[in-house]
Every structure is written in C-alpha cells, then in structure tokens.
C-alpha cells in the first residue's frame, strides 16, 4: 500500500508541476488521470519495491549530495587531463566487487560509477563489475570501495 501511495503522490506532483494549473476543475481532471494510471499500473503489477524504493528514500538525499560532489571533482580532474598535454592518460580495465544485496542496489552502484567521469561500467558479472578507468588515480579512487560501501548502506536492513 505504501508503494501505491508513493507512486500516486509522485504522479500527481509531476502533473501539477508540469501543467501549472491550480484551479479546482483542472486539478480534479489531474487527480482522475493519476488514478487511472495507478489502476493500470496496479493491474500490470509494476508497483513494487523496485519501482518505488520507499525503503531507501530517507537516505538517498545524503547519498546524492555526496555523489554530486564526487562527480564535480572527477569532472575537473578529467577536464584537466584532456586539456593539459603533460598529464598521463592511461586507460585500463579493472574489476571491482559489488556488495549490494539486490539488483536495484547494483544498478545504483553501476550507474554511479558510470556517472562519474573517469570510470565507466562496461560489464556486470554477478558480484563483479568490469570497469574502464581513464587514469590510475580514478581506478585507485574506486578501489578504495567507499562508493560501494555508501550504496550498500543505502539499501539498509529492509
């Protein structure tokens, strides 16, 4: 039930912000269309903890702030490597372990790696990711496992 409420709230918030209508009749139409979508999604059986990860929501904000900070630092590093002829560019592949329990956690971790310039997830093989790194520093940064630990903490106990 929590997942249905969370999806309904997300749908209606999106409708309200994208339409910008705040008058009674039109809001009624918005509510009606959100309800229709909810019923269809319910029948399709796509409302579950993977589509609406409410068990993670309270912790995601802190993770996103940390991730954006990492992305900004990595961006500056890679940009420096591209425009400075002297700085080393040594592309290579590394394998990193993923300790997340379910697939959603693994997807968050793999996408976080890819979103950070300097490292791209190339292949997922069970518990192991094959990652392409642009420089030794980027690879070492990932090998410390801090991002992995943070994503696993995001999953929590549930």
């Amino acid at each position: 039930m929590g997942h249905v409420i969370s999806m309904g709230a997300a749908l209606f918030a999106t409708w309200l912000l994208l339409s910008g209508h705040f008058t009674g009749l039109l809001i009624g139409f918005g509510v009606a269309s959100c309800l229709v979508v909810l019923v269809i999604a319910r029948r399709m059986d796509v409302i579950d903890r993977e589509a609406q990860p409410v068990h993670m929501t309270p912790r995601t904000c802190g993770y996103w702030v940390w991730l954006v900070k990492e992305i900004v630092l990595a961006n500056i590093d890679v940009a420096k490597r591209i425009i400075t002829p002297g700085l080393p560019i040594e592309p290579h592949l590394i394998r990193v372990k993923a300790t997340q329990r379910d697939e959603l956690g693994k997807v968050i971790y793999a996408n976080s790696i890819t979103l950070t310039p300097g490292t791209v997830t190339v292949d997922i093989d069970g518990e192991e990711f094959l990652v392409h790194a642009l420089s030794q520093e980027a690879a070492d940064d990932l090998a410390t496992g801090e991002m992995d630990r943070r994503v696993t903490a995001l999953e929590g106990e549930g």
């Binding site: 961006n75 591209i82 560019i89 040594e90 290579h92 996408n111 950070t116 392409h132």
Partner: protein, 110 residues
C-alpha cells in the same frame, strides 16, 4: 540585489557549462579509443549540461519554468549513465579491445 545574484549565477552557469562542453568535445577528438572517449562524453553529460541548466534556471521568468528545467536535470541524471552503459557494454560484447594495458584477468573475454 537578488536580480544581480541571479544574473551572476546565470552567467557563471552558461559560460562554465559551455566551457565544459568544449572540453568534452576536445576530449572526444583527443582520446585514443571508444571507451576513453565515453569519459569525455561523460563530462558533457554531467557538468556541461548541469551548469547550463542551472544557469537557465537562474534566468527563468517564473518558478514553474525553473522546476521544469530541474526535472530535465533529474532526467539526464538517470538516463545518461544507463545509455553510456548500454554503449560500453555493446562495444565490449562486440569485441572492441580497449587501448592500453590489461589488469589481471580483465583481458580474458570469457
């Protein structure tokens, strides 16, 4: 006062984002192979696009427009790594060998 601050944010965002996009384009030409070029494309996707959109948010005429621009940032945040992964995985599955040294075990394409 607020208008001046918003103008500064707009300038910094648009000029800074443009600079990152140029660096990304330069990297696309300069880096050796398809995998390393994805890192350069990643710069364009993250800092380039984000800074430009934040700059546009500061210059938007009302808050609803700013919210819509923010939703574009969220969309890019989720779709860009997914498409980059699809591209990298397709290149790897298609047998494109990365330039550079191999780490232990990573060269075996089993």
């Amino acid at each position: 006062m607020i208008q001046a601050a918003l103008n500064i944010v707009g300038w910094v965002g648009l000029v800074g984002g443009g600079a990152f996009v140029i660096v990304g384009a330069l990297g696309l030409v300069r880096l050796p192979d398809v995998y390393s070029r994805m890192h350069a494309a990643g710069i364009t996707d993250t800092m380039g696009a984000w800074l430009m959109l934040v700059g546009m948010m500061a210059q938007s005429p009302d808050w609803l427009t700013a919210v819509k621009l923010f939703l574009i940032i969220v969309l890019i945040f989720f779709t860009s790594p997914t498409s980059t992964y699809a591209l990298a995985n397709a290149a790897y599955g298609g047998g494109v060998k990365p330039v550079g040294r191999d780490e232990e075990g990573a060269s075996s394409n089993s």
